[in-house]
Subunit: 514 residues, 2 copies
Amino acid sequence: MVEAAGRRRARGGGGAARRAERTAVSVETARYIERNIPNFEVLTTEALEIIEHNAETVLEEIGVNFVNNPAALELWREAGADIDGERVRIPRGLARQLCSTAPKSYTQHARNPERNVEIGGKSLVLAPVYGPPFVRDVAGGRRYATMEDFRKFVKLGYMSKWLHHSGGTVCEPTDIPVNKRHLDMLQAHMTLSDKPFMGSVTEPSRAQDSVDMCEILFGKEFVQQNTVMTSLININSPLTFDDVMMGALEVYARNNQAAIISPFIVGGAMAPVSVAGTLTQVLAEVLAGIAYSQLVRKGAPVIFGAFVTSIDMNSGAPTFGTPEASHITYGAGQLARRLGLPFRSAGSFCGSKLPDAQAAYETANSLNMGLLSGVNFMLHACGWLEGGLVSSFEKFVMDADQLGALHKFAQGVNVDEEAQALDAIREVGPGGHYLGCAHTQAHFKTAFWRSETFDYKPFETWDEEGARDSEALAALRVEKLLNDYQQPALDPAINEALNAYVVEKKASMPDAFM
Amino acid sequence: MVEAAGRRRARGGGGAARRAERTAVSVETARYIERNIPNFEVLTTEALEIIEHNAETVLEEIGVNFVNNPAALELWREAGADIDGERVRIPRGLARQLCSTAPKSYTQHARNPERNVEIGGKSLVLAPVYGPPFVRDVAGGRRYATMEDFRKFVKLGYMSKWLHHSGGTVCEPTDIPVNKRHLDMLQAHMTLSDKPFMGSVTEPSRAQDSVDMCEILFGKEFVQQNTVMTSLININSPLTFDDVMMGALEVYARNNQAAIISPFIVGGAMAPVSVAGTLTQVLAEVLAGIAYSQLVRKGAPVIFGAFVTSIDMNSGAPTFGTPEASHITYGAGQLARRLGLPFRSAGSFCGSKLPDAQAAYETANSLNMGLLSGVNFMLHACGWLEGGLVSSFEKFVMDADQLGALHKFAQGVNVDEEAQALDAIREVGPGGHYLGCAHTQAHFKTAFWRSETFDYKPFETWDEEGARDSEALAALRVEKLLNDYQQPALDPAINEALNAYVVEKKASMPDAFM
């Protein structure tokens, strides 16, 4: 059944056109951001060179550990590294040289080709929160996430105009056995949305399932020739590459599927407390990880990732939207561009337990910094709450709304004759009013970005309507989007084949909850 | 009495030292920000040149109105402008040439010289919200502001570590007659705080009262030789300079006191809907206003101001923290630097009725943009709510807390040997933990900025403590700061003289409430 569907799709030829036709009744999604603004750069060239030199010193002198992975050690040995137990010491310059075969940018295909995204260069692709075991909403409070919650988040992502990507583990469906939930999650992304998505990384076999299911959805040949998943490979900072994550990376790289190679750092715990020290370690880890991806398959698409937060030294809690995290992210962006690699960082990060002012300050700090630091792929762009423990329904739509402001800002400033508006200034003159002038009438519909979630009403109206705060307004938006949701069309044969794959695969294993 | 106090102070000589001594028991205030980071620039040189050319065209062809102000028209005529009724047309290049005598930066003195601020260059001075007729707090809701509210805000400003300036009309004390409230407001800033402050601009005579009261506080000679006030002169955009604001400007300029010359623009209403058009008008207005200040007194200290927001074309409401406002502010900063003038813009702007997530997203967007756009004087840096109709106690302390993050970010990245932390990376090695290492122990106290207001506790602790949101936490902070408040010492003779001035002045006029 699976194979039959795969063959049928591969045979088709005009698959892309057919897919587009099938999704004709679909919600609007903005094209990924193409920046027409400069990047903000916080480090001088001299500072960057010091950090690059030190990162090579770390790789050469200290090295990195590849744990439980003799095949990886062998690849490294062949490439010229010095192997000592599980420690890999990489001669100065070697990792950087190996990284040079990774593409500067790549296209991730969606089943609806209008939603393909370009990752790298001046682009910014926005994807939702990843990983929380809990969800929160106004009605139900904080609770363990279920598969039903997961599906709701995928639907919200599909309905969110400014979100280009369906993401991956938008929450952990804790009601499904741990060894089977990736199947349900992938099926949800594939059938409830037509935006690009991420594959499973929690076991190499689950990465393989992800590839297999993509072959059903896109056709086998298409998958081998194109990138249809971008998946998240975290490094066990400091300087450790475990066999599970590397196993998943190997599956993806061999199948030409993309991976974000991402140090996961709470500053002061997994890296030095200083910005320069953290950047040194981040660069060393990324160089080693991306070099390894290219040892597995030259040209495999990868992203320079950097998940970085600071820590509250009073409580030990990670802190978000902080100035130190911004310094590190801006610096990491500069390092990624000097390597010629796509860059992943930032997100709707916050430590607050509620989608309140704290959450919004921290998130806005991080989103703005993400745009200006040259991030190409922003995971967690909406919905993150409580340090990543919670996916919040209300915050998902609040954040997703704010992403519209990033789109508008990234367009830069138009200074053509119409935008110069000299005739409008002449028409109105001193003491006049622009609301009725010809230039305003011609442009008012597109001139200003506006929130689809928040309140712009006069005080009296707002008060009469119940004096609702942002969370209450967002809850209304969640409800509206879920009510308006219509599933994008999918070839019934593919739908059936995906379902059969999931059912068969689940039946082949006992449940595991650890 | 007043004169006696003034003379006594002027005679003293070591007045600054004495003032410092008297305030020895005082709360910590951070030094104004000196940026060690670049500015973000959104406009190309070509775009800037187009806008500059067009602004000169506006001044030459359309001109500006100076209303009810024959003396101003005469000054302009003498300077070479073309006068037609109240319309002043300024030949290309003249306004820019006149602006060249304005200083690039200036020192505003505080009665505690440790709190003097430098305005211009790479500095950023933060001042609180200005102008709202209402206040809001958790306990009392939204209500008309009173003088008691005003005093509380001055106390909060004094207690706020990251706020360098006491501001001006932190709220409108609507329980005091409109023609007398400036006296109470000035007295509050002068006696309840020792940070620099702003003068009254609502009548030229009130500007003169401000100067007179400063002469009591600082000594007559000191005031004539130094700048002790920075006051807000709004332009009636488009292109109109009214006699009240210009009258106040004239008083301040003649007395060597600083003025922010600031277009007040809701885009699409008081300026074109386009960014380039708005920037053209802003520049024309600022050129005319600052040129005029220099006609009144060459070398008078002034600031290039730009209060700009966009508009919600559905409701007509001004909107805040929007991408268009950011474009304009970044562009205005570039124009100000090309003119060599200090720049005022941005603030804790938001449209929300409550200090909730909407308020915080909008505010954080604006604060971050203010830092990166090179703002030198940020009015409204904390406490603004509901489009400027409301001064919020809780938002004041939330915003003031976030200003700490701006301070830290503006320091830039240290890459000295200690910050490089190579020894720490060596000590910890792959798979280790940095919390206990020597480098972390040496630096953890200063490594990371932390909020003094928000929540970093474990979920369970936070939940047990009442699951408080940001507003509730901020209310606790307001209470704590007001409880901890201690009035900074002031020479009793000066205190008495100020009080006598206010009492006598009030007795000399009937009450006016319009």
